[in-house]
Amino acid sequence: MTIRPDDRLLDAPMQPLTCRRCGAGVQVRKASWHQTSVQWNADATGTCQERRTAGAGVFAGCAALRDSIVQAALDGEIAVPEES
């Protein structure tokens, strides 16, 4: 099967963001204040401190990265579409 791109990214692409704690570089997108997408790559998963020290099982996410994204959104560095 062909891998198809998500058309929603055409209107609002993922934006680069660096974690303020560990410097991991990821791609971020917010469709609203409530919604956040994060695309990691191998470098980022290797860099993330919380990821490296996490135990077995699902790694639900990095709190420091989450805070960095929230701050970037509040500062207007990551776009958040206006909700009507």
Binding site: M1, T2, I3, R4, P5, D6, D7, R8, A31, S32, W33, H34, Q35, T36, S37, V38, Q39, W40, N41, A42, A44, T45, G57, V58, F59, A60, G61, L74, D75, G76, P81, E83
Partner: protein, 389 residues
């Protein structure tokens, strides 16, 4: 490609390539292993073939291509003799490793007397087979995690169901990301939802409350359902373990749900549901069994609702998504890794991707913080420049 090119009008066309003729690489669950331990060979139609499952004298469960390489007899109609399955046609004996061990009427087994065999795993009361079109054994890191409760006395036994569904199995996998369908099809209301795809694991984390409009309020004295917490992961293409906790005002109920399938062929699959529930002081022996049965029938109802949709819907490779939909394309990108050779798995198929919806903080609170932020910055600016903002 059977894709229909969009013309110069504005009508959105549904596109769908032919369903893949290849079957996913990975562990697939064939159901409760007990079922295969009755001393008889079993016929299983899977991966576009007919398989025989049999327990050899040493207790091991084996899976072979059902068709005897001698003259094509159906081994699943044969008999287990010691460690081998004996063909009903001329009694050739086949071992679990796929090799012919003995031909009762011949002094020598011919060279090349080897048939297709699948690697099996009998774990937590379930039988798994490893399918790999390239014929490699499972890498050690690609495994099905143990489920503690499955073998513990303070948990119920499995309540297990199997249903044949006549559509391609991608439909059931799509559910991992389909937030909106939980509301419309299953009447639950997620307040928090997250998908994580990484490596061969795809996860769905959900916290929710039942929709008040679709269930009767609890009667006096009955425990009141407050909400539920669920962490569900597909370990590979077909086996999902869901750790589900129901929160009541008086207790928590811990359960493990299995949602698994194996393809019969490109256009049908067997859908399994399994459940175990933890026994507690407030939910002792029989009450837990009863709860497991109830939850099982509730899950089956959910499956029925899904099946109704699947039976009538179109396969669609280019779903038209709104911003409130989940990451369907990213999930399918992850899923694709199981349909290509290992050498062709690209980083984008396995790299970590997260999609989160968290509605616990109202939008107004966010907006207020942005305004405060702006006001503070303006104040700082005016302080540093000495000019009013």
């Amino acid at each position: 490609m059977t894709a229909v090119e969009a013309g110069n009008d504005d009508i959105r066309r549904i596109e769908a390539e032919a369903v893949p003729t290849r079957f996913a690489r990975g562990w697939h669950c064939l159901g409760l292993s007990e079922k295969f331990k009755d001393g008889k060979p079993h016929t299983v139609k899977a991966f576009g073939q007919k398989l025989v499952v049999f327990q050899s004298g040493d207790g091991k469960l084996n899976v072979l291509d059902a068709y005897c390489r001698h003259m094509g007899g159906d081994l699943s109609q044969g008999e287990i003799k010691g460690d081998e399955i004996a063909c009903p046609f001329h009694d050739w004996r086949w071992g679990g490793d796929g090799r012919c061990k003995k031909i009762p009427y011949s002094r020598r087994v011919p060279l090349r007397a080897r048939t297709a065999s699948w690697v099996t795993m009998d774990q937590d009361g379930l039988l798994f087979v490893w399918n790999d079109p390239e014929g490699n054994p499972p890498p050690p890191e690609v495994t099905i995690p143990r489920m503690e409760g499955a073998t513990r006395d303070d948990w119920t036994d499995w309540v297990w169901t199997e249903t044949v569904v006549h559509t391609n199995c991608r439909e059931v996998v799509d559910n991992v990301v389909d937030m909106a369908h939980f509301f419309y099809v299953h009447y639950s209301f997620p307040t928090y939802f997250k998908n994580i795809f990484e490596g061969h694991v795809a996860t769905q984390i959900m916290k929710g409350t039942g929709r008040q409009d679709t269930r009767p309020p609890a009667k006096d004295g009955e425990p009141k359902l407050l909400g539920n917490d669920s962490v569900a992961s597909y370990h590979g293409p077909s086996f999902m373990i869901d750790e589900l906790t129901y929160h009541y005002d008086t207790m928590d109920i811990n359960s493990v749900l299995i949602n698994a399938h194996y393809p019969i062929d490109a256009n049908s699959f067997v859908l399994h549901s399994g459940i175990i529930v933890q026994r507690t002081d407030t939910l002792p022996g029989p009450a837990a069994d009863e709860m497991a049965r109830k939850m099982s029938s509730f899950i089956l109802k959910g499956f029925d609702q899904d099946v109704q949709i699947w039976k009538n819907k179109a396969r669609i490779d280019n779903p038209l998504l709104c911003e409130e939909d989940g990451p369907v394309y990213q999930l399918r990108r992850w899923y694709e890794q199981f349909y290509v050779d290992v050498a062709d798995v690209r980083p984008e198929m396995v790299e970590r991707f997260e999609f989160e919806l968290d509605t616990t903080r109202p939008v107004e609170a966010w907006k207020r913080e942005v305004e405060e932020n702006l006001a503070r910055k303006a104040a700082e600016l005016s302080a540093s420049t000495g000019r009013p903002a």
